[in-house]
């Protein structure tokens, strides 16, 4: 039972982490490797607000999500937008370069030691006499559900959300129909970076803050997005849950250290059997 709960939590964090990546892939057509480092930025700015500046945790979270979102947009404007015309390969390598830049800057500031947020361990919720999960874990699940719900609402009900879906399908056609693609892609970068920051905080909540967090997660995020199928947002959510659950459930059978390998095995199998991913393209 514990493993199922852990799996769901891993899946929920993966959903938040990979939706942004998937949105950027859909609109800008490139794999943003630096997305993993945005998780790192989110986690460390939260640490800055919580531990160094002594904010309450909720406020620290909100501040760091906003900070990461704005920073993500700024980085995109400075580094990606000028080379957009040169093709996806250049964008891909620019994002690798940017990952190194972010990693280097954070490493220079925080140093090598491993930190935690120093949160008190919360009480367990018990149901019918058995302890299921802690409030902290419930908080993560509820938060990710809220994010998913909100995103669904934005994508299907608001004008900008519909515009995003149109732009993901066909950028030129959307522009002809009077959709302001420049403004929309700013929104996409904001949302995607903010979600990345949030995922970074949640990851650091369940574990520790270490420098390799970004590099470790980007691999799993890429697997999730591929398994979900070509930037399909709802497929990505499903794939995040499947991969999260199978990573944690697999630890019953095989050594824990093989946990991340499971994600890669799944992605290889999916690509070989069903190259288009779990669900075909399209954002709806």
């Amino acid at each position: 039972m514990d493993y199922v709960v852990y799996g769901i939590i891993t899946g929920c964090i993966l959903i938040i982490a990979s939706i942004g990546f998937s949105m950027v892939w859909k609109t800008e057509n490139f794999l943003n490797i630096a997305h993993g480092q945005l998780l790192l930025i989110g986690a460390y700015t939260a640490y800055l607000f919580k531990v160094v500046l002594n904010f309450p945790f909720a406020l620290a979270m909100i501040c760091s999500v906003i900070a990461t979102a704005v920073l993500g947009l700024l980085l995109a404007k400075v580094f990606y937008f000028p080379v957009r015309k040169s093709g996806i390969l250049v964008l891909l390598f620019t994002s690798i370069g940017l990952s190194w830049v972010i990693y280097g800057v954070i490493q220079a500031i925080v140093g090598p030691e491993i930190r935690t947020f120093g949160l008190e361990t919360s009480n367990m919720i018990s149901l019918v006499g058995t302890q299921i999960m802690s409030y902290q874990e419930l908080f993560i699940i509820v938060l990710s559900l809220i994010c998913v719900g909100l995103l669904h609402f934005i994508l299907t009900k608001t004008k900008n959300g519909k515009g995003f879906r149109a732009m993901a399908e066909n950028r030129d056609l959307a522009q002809i129909r009077g959709i302001n693609s420049r403004k929309l892609s700013d929104y996409v970068w904001l949302i995607s970076s903010g979600l990345a920051g949030l995922a970074g905080i949640l990851l650091a909540m369940t574990g520790t803050l270490n420098m390799e967090l970004g590099w470790q997660q980007i691999l799993i995020i890429m697997s999730v997005v591929i398994v979900g199928g070509m930037g399909n947002i709802y497929g990505t959510m499903l794939a995040a849950l499947i991969i999260g659950l199978s990573m944690d459930l697999s630890t019953i059978v095989i050594p824990t250290s093989y946990r991340t390998a499971i994600a890669f095995v799944i992605v290889i199998l999916v690509l070989l059997i069903r190259p288009q991913g779990l669900s075909k393209g399209g954002t709806t």
Binding site: V83, F93, G97, W100, Q107, A108, G111, W215, L219, I268
Partner: protein, 324 residues
């Protein structure tokens, strides 16, 4: 003497990375495969060599057998990886090869009976170490690396100018068209993929000799990114560019190690090194997208566009003349 030792170490490491960059250029640059699994074949080559030739944990075979064996084993591994993944395109190939490389590393960490896990294997022998004492050895080793790198370079250059090289570029520029004139695209990709992986595997032996230890944390994905960065810096599709890029990158990353700094600044310096490498990659991509040394062969598509454009301008000019 210290400086000489440091310099030869730098050249040796730069040479090993140049070997990797040349091998990667064969399948990544000339054939246009988005292969992020370099470190996987590197690790397989290094471990295969160690297990074949080490006396303590391995079979204790002669060194040369170890090197040849590591090339063969890496080739077989990459045949398996390539056969399963080469049908995929761009991003999908990238992620599959990346995933294979990570799986290889995770196996190296966990299968302790084979690889001695995270602790690794220490005190590995180097070639001709008995004949050359202490400090002069590193200079000899740098020379050895440079010599093998030269062979790699000549081989890759020969390959690039052969009919096979043209054929590879044709696949890179337009796969459908190449297929339509009756060329076997998949078989060629697989052949070149295995060839390039064998080259990476042999480079793995040199890496083992250079470090004289082997451990899984030597083979993180950072190596893959470093090699790709070197290739992009130098210019994709150009062997000379691969060598230049590798040496420039290693110089930037390693030169600062020689500066004596207090230990409290060493972390800052490590961060700065990453920052500079990343910035270099971004700036080169922004202002010199072809790399420091651009590929000599004009891509066919560009030639075609050039002709098209010139025809169009002529026509426009003609019309204007007629109108006036």
């Amino acid at each position: 003497m210290d400086i000489l030792l440091f310099l030869s170490g730098l050249i040796a490491l730069g040479g090993i990375y140049a070997m990797l960059a040349i091998s990667l250029n064969v399948n990544g640059g000339l054939l246009g495969l988005w292969d992020l699994g370099v470190v996987g074949y590197f690790a397989v080559g290094a471990y295969a060599y160690t297990l074949l030739s080490s006396h303590d944990l391995g079979l204790g075979l002669p060194m040369i057998v170890g090197v040849i064996g590591s090339a063969i084993i890496t080739g077989l591994f990459s045949l398996l990886i390539g056969y399963t993944s080469l049908r995929l395109q761009n991003e999908y190939l990238l992620i599959t090869t990346f995933a294979f490389a990570e799986i290889i590393r995770i196996i190296a960490i966990n299968e302790e009976w084979l690889t001695n896990g995270n602790i690794g294997i220490f005190g590995l022998e180097r070639p001709f170490e008995n004949f050359l004492p202490g400090t002069t050895y590193m200079i000899f080793f740098a020379g050895l690396v440079l010599a093998v790198m030269g062979i790699y370079y000549l081989f890759a250059q020969k390959l690039a100018h052969s009919p096979m090289g043209r054929y590879m570029r044709a696949i890179r520029e337009n796969e459908q068209v190449t297929q339509s004139i009756g060329k076997k695209v998949f078989a060629t990709k697989l052949k070149i993929f295995v060839l390039s992986s064998c080259m990476v595997g042999i480079a793995g032996c040199f890496y083992v000799w250079y470090m004289s230890i082997i451990a899984p944390n030597m083979f993180t994905s950072a190596i893959t990114f470093t090699v790709w960065t070197a290739l992009v810096l130098g210019g994709i599709g150009n062997n000379r560019g691969a060598v230049v890029g590798a040496f420039v990158l290693i110089l930037v990353q390693e030169a600062t190690r020689f500066v004596p700094v207090p230990t409290e600044y060493s972390v800052l310096l490590a961060g700065l090194r990453q920052f500079v490498s990343g910035m270099m990659l971004i700036l080169v991509l922004r202002f010199l997208p072809q790399g420091l040394v651009a590929e000599k062969f004009k891509s066919v598509e560009k030639l075609f566009y050039f002709q098209q454009n010139s025809i169009i301008t002529e026509q426009k000019g003609g019309r204007r003349n007629a109108a006036s």
